[in-house]
Subunit: 406 residues, 2 copies
């Protein structure tokens, strides 16, 4: 069976990768008069309701809210498939919910919704907020999603995480830190080319910048972003429609290069693909990169270049987002443990320096003895990830608290 047939027959057999489970013992639930039914349901539950209505904070103590995460998706940018609609997003979000549970002990419920309107999505998230301890925004098209996340950060009382932006940034930096250990280059001395100016590209530029890497070029379908192209109006997306692209243009491309990916990749040390477009890189382009090239082709399901082609083209290190190749640079290494911390300490904001701390902590899990071209990142199920991320993120948040109260 091919991958497609295997995936479809597994899903057809399962008819759902997650389910709701009762945590109530059946033993004396229905016992006459003294059964627990009278405690978990009417009449006993009324006392619990009344207590919460007097102090809604108690919902964290008496209900599942403390451990509930909503995975909110409108189906507009599912994996690299584009606008497939909310129903087609469900299997992906159920897969995420499986990983949330297995790797973070979190109850994540997918809410794949029928509206694709920015204001309605913001309102929807505010409406479901009472049920959830945190919100995870997922696979919504950019730049709309960046505005949604900004808007919600201001108004929600629970933490919000944007996995495509924050999760991808952390795991990409972690992998890059380790790849650089192998090739012996430094973050502040490398040239990086990023294909893709959506949520992932935006998050990666911000985290690289914070980590001290400033020679970055971002390309979109029209070529390299730069403030010059903005001024020349050759890329009017930047000013008119997309202030996030403008921000990227201002932060990147210090040598004001122009032209397409094929041109700007010449001499680069690192390629990071988050374009959503499979196969846009070829061996010749890899050959034009600097020695010891690092190629992260992260689009899913089809990477910008297959690892075997990248390596044949002369790359020293190749990685993808997929679990069926070595070096899986996947958010799944990150999101369950970050959300675990956000739920546990109810931290509302993740700053760039916190994300950098987490990236270094994850990179540090791979020690020198194990670090190799095809092992730059711990696997998704490495049991050290949760305690490591927990410690690093708690410390970073604590520093902010200390700074704020100093």
């Amino acid at each position: 069976l091919g991958l497609k047939d295997e995936a479809i027959s597994l899903h057809r057999m399962l008819k759902g990768k997650i389910e709701i489970q009762s945590r109530i013992s059946l033993e004396n639930l229905f016992e006459a008069e003294k059964g627990t039914l009278g405690l978990i349901y009417t009449p006993g539950v009324a006392y619990v309701s009344k207590e919460i209505s007097n102090n809604k904070e108690l919902a964290y103590d008496y209900t599942s809210k403390w451990n509930n995460v909503a995975i909110v998706c409108d189906g507009t940018r599912v994996l690299g498939l584009g606008n497939v609609g909310p129903e087609a997003a469900i299997p992906v979000m159920e897969g995420k919910a499986v990983l949330f549970k297995i790797l973070g002990g979190i109850n994540a419920f997918p809410l794949c919704i029928s509206t694709q309107n920015k204001e309605e999505i913001i309102r929807f998230v505010k409406e479901v907020e009472p049920m959830f301890g945190a919100i995870n925004i997922e696979d919504i098209e950019s730049p709309k999603v960046l505005e949604i996340v900004e808007g919600l950060q201001k108004t929600l009382s629970v933490p919000i995480f944007h996995d495509d932006q924050h999760g991808t940034a952390v795991i990409t930096l972690a992998a890059l830190i380790n790849a650089l250990r192998i090739v012996g280059k430094k973050l502040d001395a490398i040239k990086v080319v990023i294909a893709g100016a959506g949520s992932a590209g935006y998050g990666i530029v911000k985290i690289l910048y914070e980590a001290g890497c400033h020679d970055i070029i971002v390309t979109d379908s029209k070529g390299a972003l730069s403030t010059d192209t903005v001024n020349n109006n050759s890329n009017d997306d930047l000013v008119v429609k997309n202030r996030y692209k403008l921000e990227l243009a201002q932060k990147t491309n210090p040598r004001k290069l122009t032209g397409n990916l094929e041109h700007v990749i010449e001499g680069a040390d690192v390629f990071i693909g988050v374009s959503g477009k499979g196969g846009i890189l070829n061996r010749q382009m890899i050959q034009s990169m600097n020695h010891d090239a690092i190629v992260f082709a992260l689009s899913n399901p089809d990477p910008e270049i297959l690892p075997s082609d990248a390596l044949h083209g002369g790359a020293r290190i190749a990685a993808t987002g997929r679990s069926d190749f070595a070096n899986q640079i996947n958010n799944a290494v990150v999101f369950p443990s970050i959300l675990r911390v956000l739920l546990d300490i109810r931290a509302k904001t993740l700053s760039e320096d916190m994300l950098v701390s987490v990236a270094y902590a994850i990179a540090g899990i791979v020690n020198d003895a194990h670090l190799m071209e095809d092992y730059i990142i711990p696997p998704v199920n490495d049991p050290r990830i949760l305690p490591t991320v927990t410690k690093a993120l708690r410390n970073a948040i604590q520093k902010h608290v200390t700074k704020a109260t100093a």
Copy 2:
């Protein structure tokens, strides 16, 4: 420990009565290269998404949608507690989700939402529709909720169930059928007084009417509803704000009685309390009823009269909605199995005659040998309920299909 302390300490210990469970075997999930992670997540899941995007019906085959029910509540009328807000509704809705799972095998997820606006609730339900095979509307104040349910019945493509209206009606009629077997009276010859003109009162009047019981008086806080009081404007709720109360007034009170509950209960054969107000009935009022009086005091957590008081007052049969007294007339006998059928055959509408059929089927579970004053209704966990309701409801729906296609 008292009931309150027991309920609160159990909820504090559990910190959530439901959780999300992964249905994926851990055994080879993370196996390198060939692990199932590559099927349930990227890259394999992309093929599943693509198939659904071409035909969204496949979401029923490849995801949990077929078995997912949203329990939607805005916190405005939780049990008999009133407008306690969405957070305080969570423990009640989690309790319902437990019963949905244990008794119907259904994945019910509570969505306790922060808006209490009618149009926004309708929009919210439409927005979450892609994730769910059916919608259960719960504990939203009347008459708003009746308009919401009507509005959604017209636009949703999945079944909608309004437990406070439909569930309460079915279980109340089932209990009444059996109570009448004991006292030897007939549905078309009894006088019924219903306290409460909200969703439950509305649903009960409609089902009793369909079942042939036409001498019904409904009281609200202003006394007996009748078309006369409407014309006299002494109850301007009826015309101005609440067309459902007007409908009740038109269907009930054939002898045009006026006055409060104390007055109109004189000579009644049956009292049904769905007022949301504990203690509004006393022994003297029971004594004024006809011989072999039947008293269903269904408000939760505090019934209109305690069963012991009703029996001391001369009632032959007393029942409540609570699990800690005999004769629990509770929707939980009904909603898991009705939703099971609605999910399985994706029937969109429940007509009154279908509900009557289900009530008779549930009543029939208690055979003559077991039928007694304190055993008129099968307990919530009677294993015969699911197959009995399934058979009765499928037959009733089939009759409609046959009629429609004849």
